[in-house]
Symmetry: C2
Subunit: 216 residues, 2 copies
DNA sequence: GAATTAATTGAACGTTCGTTTTATTATCTC
DNA sequence: GAGATAATAAAACGAACGTTCAATTAATTC
């Protein structure tokens, strides 16, 4: 046989991407075979090569578009206001929402970096660094304004990102907590972690601890 | 050829374990071939099967021993005192020290879970849960005693563990920060994150923020 | 020093892998 | 409706995979 009735390149390519994200997230890039992916899409393995020249090209495409999406999402969510606390709150909310919504793609982008060629790895890491740089800028501004109290901006940024991204490891939609409950809790943990002063944060509710400290 | 002069089963097995941890951490379990591992040890692939019946047995052994080591380390480090803040400080210090010292093994234990059979996965996860339960108990005790201020004990525990374990992603020995500097900073971030009250923590230096809150 | 055991080699097994090639059919263009 | 093109199937490629087996030699035992 050959071309099947109703076959459409765009639809097939989209189906390949979607199936690939799911399979790689579940099995790992190395463990997923092209035949397995093709079967999931309902196609022969050879057909995949019409859309992606190699298996690694497929992986790289998924990762690059994930990172581009993350940077775009932050570009849209970034508040105009200069208030560091509000900017930090927006960063946290955007980060958690984006990563929960794309758990599988995030898993792939975080776990399969070692399967990229050196050049492509560099490309992905460059995007990641640009994204992290945004957080460091917020923390630095907040520390200089005396609103935050961070011992080490770089280290705090890494700790926050690890903490937030870690949500995808245990979060399952429809279980005990909703996305907004998780986000609220993470927001207040973040504000406490950076030592945010009261009233400085418009989006987050008052962090709470300082009131009790005063009461001591 | 056959048995080589000076060959010793115990030494070879230890060399296999060590090389396997390094290779799996760098390449991933699926991407590492038994021939590659054998070459690293300086032996033929067939020789590996004298010590580990299958590739998965090797992986499982590495993971199980890593988790056993973690539980033992905490058993030794656990303070006798009942003070939740001191216990939390001990947990953080032990966790970071253990994971930095065994970065590669931690990487393997965290990243290659999906390559285990269902039964063995359950076994490893049981150990991991037992370890995390210790942290939840500390947080609960601290919250009940009014020393900590945690919105959600389970969620806080996950956030803390992700944050702390994340150290191995970026930490490189001999770079900008020493282990003790990293530990100190993470300890103070932890204490702020859980909203620890001043003076409650014997091991950590005063967390700092409350003093300024009082000064407001 | 002969017998036994421990440690390893080298070659091979069947399977699966990513990928390529060729042929075939559906759809689109005019 | 003929010709061009897009989308796929089917089969095959060589290479690499985990693993097994028989042979061989070093070390140990008595």
């Amino acid at each position: 046989m050959a071309r099947t009735t109703g076959s459409d390149g765009e639809k097939t390519e989209a189906a390949v991407r979607e199936a690939a994200v799911g399979l790689i997230a579940r099995l790992g890039y190395e463990a997923m075979s092209m035949r397995q992916l093709a079967a999931e899409v309902g196609v022969q393995a050879a057909a995949l090569y019409r859309y992606f020249p190699t298996k690694e090209d497929l992986l790289f495409t998924l990762m690059r578009e994930h990172m581009e999406g993350l940077l775009e999402a932050w570009d849209d969510a970034r508040p105009a206001a200069a208030d560091p606390a509000a900017r930090l709150a927006a960063y946290v909310e955007n980060h958690i929402a984006f990563h929960i919504e794309r758990r599988h793609a995030t898993h792939v982008s975080n776990m399969e970096l070692r399967s990229l060629s050196h050049e492509r790895l560099t490309q992905i890491l460059k995007m990641r660094t640009a994204y992290e740089k945004e957080l460091r800028a917020i923390l630095r501004d907040g520390a200089e304004a005396g609103i935050f109290e961070t011992d080490d901006v770089g280290l705090t940024a890494m700790a926050l990102i690890q903490m937030m991204t870690g949500v995808i490891v245990w979060f399952r939609p429809g279980e005990r907590l909703s996305i907004s409950e998780v986000t609220t809790t993470y927001l207040s943990m973040t504000m406490r972690l950076v030592g945010a002063k009261i009233g400085a944060c418009s989006a987050a509710r008052p962090v709470g601890r300082a009131t009790e400290a005063v009461a001591l």
